[in-house]
Subunit: 345 residues, 2 copies
DNA sequence: TAACATTATGTTAGCGCTAACATCGCAAAC
DNA sequence: GTTTGCGATGTTAGCGCTAACATAATGTTA
């Protein structure tokens, strides 16, 4: 009477019984059908179907000392930028044998560290983390993890393991250069949240303006508030009030840029003639806006897909072509930075 | 030499050893500290810290026949509407002993069914699924699941277990009534994706227009394409070209509404005087737009939080106050449907 | 045909944890 | 002083699966 009862669900032993084979054969047939003869495989598959057997992933993870979990940690769930990469990851992994486990670090490094710890406790098959700005401890944990690790949304010389993304510095620089080239004179930066990636965009922007002889530290406005369209509208107001001579602004992301557009429109300022606006990421809405908004296009979906490909290649025993992949960006010039000739005075 | 080696990580036995107690005592100390004396608890906590012990969740799940996983299935990762509820769920569960496992059904019922099956295979502590439009099989699987199940983003008389959300029918009706009350005459519906929830919004809208004597089936434009700002701009174009007399439009979500605004602006139509626009959900950008956009505000974060509270209450042995919770919505009237008196001709 | 590979399948012993029962120590009750 | 009750701790046997070794069945070579 000491016996414990499981959840009553059919187990691999039930399948083995029904198919008249041993449990290990069922296990093999399910994990790698090529290890089992056609004859038995058919019988096993039938039994599986009849019993409606679903493998118990925890038991499998325990026995094999590795789980089918892919741990993914992003700093935000509502930021569309990460949502796109996530979608790619789910598209690629959602179907197969892997389970994506998602963590939200909320831009807090300590939270990220906690999540990494928890996830590694599950012995994941792979880890995907956003960015390169982990704490030392987090980095060390991931370096010691016995699984492939991909950092996404950034590039750098010294990845934990593999990395795929683009250079925020170069992106910011391209935005700054574009505004200079368009003939804008007093070019500002409007940044919310100001996570490390935004900081790198700002650094690139600064370099471009210095190069163009237009750098003015008083034209940099940042906040730690999280970015939103409303905040963009609010801040461009304040910015213009303080510096009425401002004639262009690089927003650290597209929400802020759209907000800046609305803010200017409310203030009766013409975009692009009175003020030029450029955003970052090129979310879908940027092209549809009126006037359409210039932005730095990044391919977040491709980043997610690429990360998955790198992982799959490592898990199947291959060595990935490159451990550092820069997918770049593309300046999308639109109306919001295209002044009429007369305005370029 | 037959021995297998684990992953080398410290186990509960190592902790027990170091603390000079049995494994079950460690297990108890970690799961319910009140079951163990202060004295031993302190020693155990020390040992845990020194060894950097992380419990092996799979082993725990196997032994206890239930996991600490909360399965969540949503139809889209990029749709901000679900992202907000997800954020609430992660905020509430992310800290504690539970692991959120997220699935993306991509609006495909069969995919949802597959995910439910997979998730239930892990014996989750609870399940959260979006909407009420599961397949019969999915519904049955969830009804038989031995865990609390919460449907979110919708309400209905006949939940699988519990449900929290709002009525899309009533929301659509409120939108329609508002446009009628504002004096618009030829009121259209613009709907993308047209998932079941959008259909219910449309039904509510129809009822309102019929009630107001303004219903015209020719003024309903829908597509199965997924909604986006660009699509909204594109479709309002087509709509106005086909029916130049259109003077108001209810968009099935805010992205479409924002797109419609941009489309009208490009076409030189004044919003709200030539065309009134109302959206659905009231995403943050709606208030910031120029002109600001009327919408039906829903509190997605509260829905997620509420779902978690219901689950926690059931898991702690209580009976939730209500199994069906309607959090309602609120009409946010803004400029896009507020015509000047002269325009109401 | 013997000797040896090469599969295909089986047996056994865990993976790390917890349920179920057993025991122990100590205070209250008789 | 024995009995009873109860909370704190321990012992044992799995949870459902797979690694590692064992063995049987088949093919291959000289």
């Amino acid at each position: 009477m000491r016996k414990r009862k499981g959840a009553g669900r059919p187990t691999i032993a039930d399948v083995a019984n029904k198919a008249g084979v041993s449990t290990i054969t069922v296990s093999r047939a399910l994990r790698d059908p090529s290890m089992v003869s056609d004859h038995l495989r058919r019988k096993i598959n039938n039994a599986v179907r009849k019993l409606n057997y679903v493998p118990h992933s925890h038991a499998s993870a325990l026995a094999s000392t590795r789980s089918n979990i892919i741990g993914v940690i992003v700093p935000s769930l509502t930021n569309n930028v990460f949502a796109e990469s996530l979608r790619a990851i789910y598209d690629a992994f959602g179907q197969g044998a892997f389970q994506v486990q998602l963590g939200n670090s909320r831009y807090v490094p300590a939270e990220e560290e906690r999540l990494v710890r928890t996830f590694l406790g599950q012995r994941p098959s792979a880890m995907i983390v956003a960015g390169t700005d982990q704490t030392d401890v987090t980095r060390q944990l991931l370096e010691n993890a016995e699984c492939p690790v991909v950092q996404i949304m950034d590039v750098g010389d010294d990845p934990i393991d593999m990395i795929v993304g683009f250079s925020h510095f170069e992106g910011g620089k391209a935005a700054g250069l574009h505004l200079v080239q368009q003939g804008y004179k007093r070019i500002g930066f409007l940044g919310a949240r100001m996570d490390p990636r935004s900081h790198r965009r700002l650094e690139g922007f600064k370099e471009a303006l210095q190069f163009g002889g237009r750098y003015d530290p008083d034209l940099i406005m940042t906040t730690t508030l999280s970015s939103s369209v409303s905040l963009g509208a609010e801040l461009i107001w304040q910015f213009c009030a303080r510096r009425p001579d401002l004639d262009a602004v690089f927003c650290n992301n597209d929400d802020m840029a759209l907000g800046a557009l609305f803010g200017c429109q409310k203030a009766g300022l013409s975009v692009p003639d009175d003020i030029g606006i450029i955003g970052f990421n090129d979310l879908e809405m940027m092209a549809a806006a009126h006037p359409s908004l210039t932005s730095i296009r990044t391919d977040r979906y491709a980043i997610g897909r690429h990360a998955v490909e790198m992982i799959q290649s490592v898990l199947s025993g291959e060595t990935p072509d490159k451990k550092i992949v820069d997918l770049g960006f593309e300046l999308q010039v639109r109306q919001s930075t295209s002044r009429s000739a007369s305005a370029k005075a």
